[in-house]
Amino acid sequence: MKRLFLLIFLLLAARPGMALTFDEARHLLARTGFGSPSRYEIERLLQYSHDSAVEEIFGFVIARPFTQPLSDLDQPLPGRAERQTLSDAEKMDFRKDINERGLALKAWWWGEMLATDSPFTEHMVLFWHNHFTSSLQKVKWPGFLYRQNLLFRDHALGNFGDLLKEITHDPAMVLYLDSQANRKSQPNENFARELMELFTLGEGHFTERDVKEAARAFTGWNFDPRSGEVVFNARQHDPGIKQVLGQNVRTGEDVVRVLLEHPQTARHLVKKLWLEFVSPEPDEAELQRLAALLRDNNYEIRPVLKALLTLPAFWAAENKGSLIKSPVDIAVGSLRLLGIKSMDGKRLAHLGKALGQDLFDPPNVKGWPGGQAWITSTTLSRREQLLRRLARGRESDGADPGLGAGYNPLALDNPSAMPSLADLDREANPRSVATMKRLMLAIPPVDPVAETGISLRRAALQLFLDPAYQVK
């Protein structure tokens, strides 16, 4: 008996080296991607150990997007002088044009998420968008938000310190947090405050004086409408000595350095990563360890993220289903689950907005609060409505390629077969419903699921509408 226990213990201890189970592969992909990986993605990962599966997912991270936005999205903003010569009708056209470009930008990112081979890249880009927020509503010019999105791609799994330095000179950020108006004669403290409160230290770790002094240090970095770039304007810069967090500084770069030296910055970031990838209840001791790891690695993201995704807490049974799926998870994840890889991006952007996640237009500088706040009575009923339409094949431009086209991720009895749409109208049986449950849900369903006397499509609909589908 003792030997048996020992054997079991050894087996469990040795697990990280062993190949992933179906459920484990699903969990890893659900958490790093969009909440509901397709059967194809899961099966592809089965050959790997825990460690190498994480490496495999990291290896797919790409800096260049799969799809191209409208070609003129990145064109420079017409200067003020040029705009002043416009007639009223031309001005109206200009505004209309900006609105259309804004929607095209949103449509592009939603479409990219749907089409990409690296959901993890998009997940990280979205993480940074929600950390270093900027909104189209305030920035106005879609090209700058596009440029910022590309910046997040460059640093998706890169170095936090580098990203932080870049973001202080990013045109969208400069316009979003009024660095634009931060001048020597009268500093504007909006950016300095959010830099400390949201981007680095977190609330409660700095004083009002630190904010005011840091704002002075950043004076002079203004947006130049003519070139469309952020440039240093020495005449607007306050060259005096400022005190930030007890240290003497002169420039914005000094402030960033002081913030990166402060241990709270790493703690703040690893806590956010934990909440994003692991569970709503971080383990303080692990956070300390991860924060130290981040600092020891000079703010490289990759090692700390790898550590996070191989922690026992990441794989713990009690943390399965502990995160609420975001609107991106629900919309993009469900479409990908059904094998749908392209759809009208504007329609997707519209759906995302209705579900509470209007990409490029976060509700405020703190970003989307996420977690339980994703689910209100209104958004839950909208999620259910969307899922009902998806299961019926109604969300693909009127046609119904979804459930029938190509490799069907719900192909139940024989994964290598490619069932037609008609196959989903076959009758369900206990075995096929069990397969569906494992594919679609992170935890067992809340409501009893009928297993016979209904079609496969109906069985899928039941699982889509189960509360368990809302968590990952």
Binding site: D178, N364, D447, P467, Q470
Partner: protein
Amino acid sequence: MTGSFSRRDLLALGLGAAGTAFLPRNGRAAPAWDRTLVMIELNGGNDGLNTVIPYNDPLYAKLRPRLAIPRDKVIHLSHDLGLHPALAPLMPVWKEQELSILLGLGYPKPNRSHFRSIEIWETASDADKVASEGWVADLLPEPRLPPAGSAQHPAHVLVLGNSSPGPFEGGNLAVVTLDRQGLGLKQTGMVGGGGQKNGQDHTKALGHVVATRALNLKAAHQIVPERLAQVKMQAGFPDGPFGSAMESAARLLLAGILPPVIKLSHGSFDTHANQAGTHEKLLGELAQGLAAFRQALLGKGLWDRVLVMTYSEFGRRAQENASHGTDHGTAAPHLLMGGKVRGGFFGTQPPLSQIADNDLIHTADFRSYYSMIAEQWWHVPGLPGFKPLSGPLAA
């Protein structure tokens, strides 16, 4: 909370109530709940100094060289104070003495973070303490409220649009979020019930989903689009999200749906740059929305049963910034309206001669504002240590 009894405990024992309108006496049933508090959050921090204007104070023009509203544009209400011209639609309400203006609301050791400060307002905590329960959830005696799910009370709180449910969190209130049209609930159809347990423990996340779905099912039976569509609504509500949310609030009430609380928000008032035009537009929408709301309810005799309150995370810095805007500040005035309100100014305008670090010093604690609503509108005990503001509501 101090001592070993919570307010809810005291209520359960039938002790400590200042008024008793909704408390059963000697075991008799409580009278029917007959009133609605309409909470309007001014998102982003409204500039109080350009809302209620100390136009006679020379320091005002000095602190606001570019943003000061010219003296002859200000709507003079008293010798010292007046309204931003965009608030003109509120003048009939002021003249009927149904608008009270509470001056200088704030709290000690003001926090200038949007998120932390609104959390302080939502939970009625001290600046250096973090509380998890919203003030309405804490003060409204859920056991004495009508059960949620009826035609008149589909929920205890209806939140319209993307407005934070912060003040209602952490207790036992049934909170339902509707879209700005007052809709958004659809019958959840195919799978019935409130979620049978499946042998495994729900994660908190799953528990939240299950509870929200159960609430939806219950409320969906009551708030049906047809019922709202039947209400004849006059014009006058401003265009835009706030106007349409106010119109929906009126529509719900006129359809006989009278939840104890309706919450909506307006904004963004976070005017760091080029404030003048934005602020004028926002205040104009606020005033038009409030005036149209009153008109709609007056006609049906509902105005006496409604109390409208505004709040915001903070006011803005007294000294304008170099971007023709204002930064995060401290104290600000707020508006209270309703058929039962006694109009006028209440409290003390924070003097501009006594600003600290270019910020106003509050003259009344916002928790006394809440205590007043608790004791004089809900007739339940207010927040311990915070005497109700006296005047605007008859005790």
